[in-house]
Symmetry: D2
Subunit: 308 residues, 4 copies
């Protein structure tokens, strides 16, 4: 399932060779990111991300912002201060001046969520044109969760015992059988062989696919805020977390601001803000006096780390 397969070396050899090749450039170089280049970061049972290319660094964000702020700046702001200011005030365009390109291997049902982020460039391995590998995502036992009883869109307790075993057995058996039949339908041995673009319809959503995915830092942060969040499905969250580890080393100042203002922060509504002001002034605010619905109030208390 890759273009290196006809060469007498393994992918690992190829990647090692690419990692060993250093070429001089006049461009901005992010030393922390160079360390990550090409190296495979395993995600889930058969997936990975690897950084193929990048453009820019923290200084590139500042440089672009200064075109728009120019000589008018009175106070010499240091770069980190300016980056924090930009993030705080939703000045997103300077962050768009950095770009990242990843090679990702991921289950199809994860890819279907991921692709909803439209402001990105994508080249996906085509099952219309090529034959997919026999690789399926099978959850680790600790990820085999029951349907949440409070949230239609979430997980509850981990399945155990016979139920867990049965689920794993079904997932494995169905994936294997579907793939066997995919191969049988494609086979040109003693028969014509079904068109690839048709045979693929038999494959389940946990089969792995691959793509090149390229986006700018602003849109990447948006992706990470939603997908590295605790409410995101585990199977996409682990990809987002692997990307976070890379971004942290690529643009440390921007990532720090992102953590403070986006990931670790919270949006308060007008009602929430009003409650906070009253609570700081010493008032005992309850759901009834908050003006919020029960759901909102529960979420609001969660933001304040207050189980009441």
């Amino acid at each position: 399932m890759n273009d290196l397969s006809d060469r007498p070396v393994t992918i690992e050899d190829e990647i090692a060779a690419m990692r060993d090749t250093w070429t001089p450039t006049r461009r901005a170089v992010a030393p922390g990111m160079e360390e990550h280049l090409y190296s495979i970061k395993p995600v889930l049972d058969h997936g990975f991300i690897r950084v193929i290319d990048y453009m820019g660094d923290d200084a590139a964000i500042v440089q672009a912002a200064r075109v728009s702020y120019g000589a008018g700046t009175k106070h010499v702001q240091n770069d980190e201060g300016l980056i924090r200011y930009l993030m705080r005030h939703w000045h997103s365009t300077p962050f768009e001046m950095c770009e990242i390109k990843l090679h990702v291997k991921l289950p199809v049902f994860v890819a279907r969520q991921w692709i909803r982020h439209r402001t990105a460039n994508v080249n996906e391995y085509s099952a219309r044109y090529s034959i997919l590998d026999r690789e399926f995502y099978i959850p680790a036992p600790e990820q085999l969760a029951a349907q949440s009883t409070v949230n239609n869109q979430g997980r509850g307790a981990v399945l155990e015992g016979a139920e867990a075993a049965r689920v794993l057995e079904l997932l494995k058996a169905d994936a294997g059988r579907s793939y066997d039949h995919y191969e049988e339908m494609l086979s040109q041995d003693g028969q014509q062989g079904l068109a690839r673009e048709l045979a693929r319809m038999n494959l389940p959503a946990n089969i792995y696919t691959q793509w090149y995915w390229k986006t700018d830092l602003h849109n990447l942060f948006h992706f990470l805020r939603l997908r590295a969040d605790a409410h995101a499905q585990y199977e996409i969250r682990v990809y987002a977390e692997a990307i976070c580890d890379v971004v942290k080393d690529w643009v440390p100042a921007a990532y720090g601001a992102f953590e403070d203002y986006r990931m670790g922060g919270a949006q308060l509504s007008a009602k929430g803000l009003d409650c906070v002001r009253r609570m700081i002034a010493g008032e005992e605010v309850t759901q009834e006096t908050s003006g919020m619905s029960k759901g909102e109030w529960r979420e609001f208390r969660g933001v304040l780390n207050d189980p009441a």
Copy 2:
């Protein structure tokens, strides 16, 4: 699999009721499109498109263009002439002033191609949140094609006899069994029940999904040019063709220009243009004297309807 299910009427009743409800509006109304509103156009074995809403008509294209061309126009161009001029000269922004919203039911492997058109708004039925229906695309016998022997990305002859029967049997059996197991894993009867967001991974790519899809006329034409084309996979082409039938009645002048300048036309390369000039001048041009590769030359002859 729809929000009407708890009402004591069928979807068909609902739609009929909506079709019978006429409300006065000050907006531009496209009579040809009103005829299509809400009515279900079947596509494939279980799919459909239906028009939910639209904005604008042929006159709206002209009206928007005239803001940009204004009083400077010397010649009073009729609307159709202006629309053809805009299409011919790739002035795409006036076509963006019309918008369409469709409800589409389609197999997942078709949805995965479709979603690659990024300039659109999409709300898809969530298998993370809800349970999908037991409906799968099974090709009609005449669509059960072999892999093309000349094109990695295409279909050859129709499968026949035992091979065809075997393929249909495999597709049906695998889809049914995967769905049975999907239900078994979800079941909370005597067990916890696997989370929906996990259970869905067992479902094959021919299961049907649904979405609301909204786009502007310029981007719709781009979609139709690629997907109503003879090289598009049959299973998405039939959706594009169903949409063509609707657009034809919605904006007849724009659709006419689209047919003439996009669907029925062809892009010639510099080399192709040079060959055409020489051929018109009476020269006998061959692949060798064309400057084209064999593949290009074959395609070029195809454009000229010349099998040589």
Copy 3:
């Protein structure tokens, strides 16, 4: 500067005639919006907005969301509750299912800010093709503000007396003279006349232009959050406010949620959230103990309505 000028009726007559024409449609109709259709809402001294078309209403947002939430919903949520939930949880795609098309007349320097919102469709009156009208934005005396002494990007006190008079005089005289020369250069009376695409370069940034601008409700809300904000430049803010007045009547539930969760709310950083928690617990937090920079702390106190 409009396509109606060769007709024997005034624009006002035309608009009145359009407002008086009601046509039956099967589409969703938003009664509050019909009232606004075509009517000119004056903005600044010569500008305006007018609604040309719209698609959808509050119910359309719910309808689109329910495709993605489907029959899994246990609790029958009323429409407004669902709309608030979607807004609170940044589920933006259902809001993209509504669309608005405006005709706007605005000064060029405002247009240059506005166009930075890229997710919109635009047809602008072309000064390359046509001749612009002699109309310039001249600020009202109460808007003639001095440069802010604390914010490079803001206004301070209103200018008074001789300085104000001098500024108004300069703005009027320069605009008038530049336009006179624009006409002189274009004139074909006894000379060839300079090309329009060149002559326009003499026109100042306060000349009025016009465009058709179309966007979806999600992106409109994003525009309004930034441009109806107190920190936005007055000259674009008044357009945003005029649009708010329209949206309020178009999608009252969505607009209410927008006001509560976006316009009236605030984003707290991780540090801000930590301070709020400590303050509610009774701690006296100062800038020094907050972990924030002086600028951040000042803004944080502002969010809490606390001048300290």
Copy 4:
């Protein structure tokens, strides 16, 4: 008007220093592009483009395409052949995998055309925040063209003699006077000084602005096809041509395909294609028998290089 102005070195020194700094990278390096990095390419009288950064090369296009074509490829296509195939068949996503970032100085009326290309990232120098430099585009005498008599959107013969002199005099005098008054209004010498965000409205459309502009290769080709075209206004075409010179060295194979299939080619309508087929078969086709309007027929003859 730049962030380097408070340093004791000139911009030229800065740029020379950046050009002299080579850092090793593991990323793909395009040797032809490294030559262009940071060097200022003058355009018009005071404008320029300079390459700030880039991502990818010809091989990166192939690499991304191969993810989507993978091991199914039977014929070992060389890279250039594959790139030509992708361009010919409108497979645009692999070209999106290359990215370029430019610093551009350009007149405001050119910037207003340029910004219409929405799929790009932009940071513009802010006249709301900072003070613009006294630099205006004044056409060279050979660019001082009359309005076209056949095309509302074009130029005719070059102005000569007294008319030309008068135009140049007006453009220079008005720009200078407007700028003098801009400075007078801003001045805080014995007065408060008008806010920058207001004073800028007095500046004409030929004043220079600057921005950082970043886009991918596919969208760049789209920009170049429209703006390096003979019908584009001269003042933006020279920027597009300067960019062409850079792209040629950056991705020579992709640029060659672009020249052949886009710049040097032509789109034929269904009617045009029909005429070509008949003409090759020896038929004498006239406008009357072509089915085309007069305008279309004239353009069609132009494509065939046939003045008839």
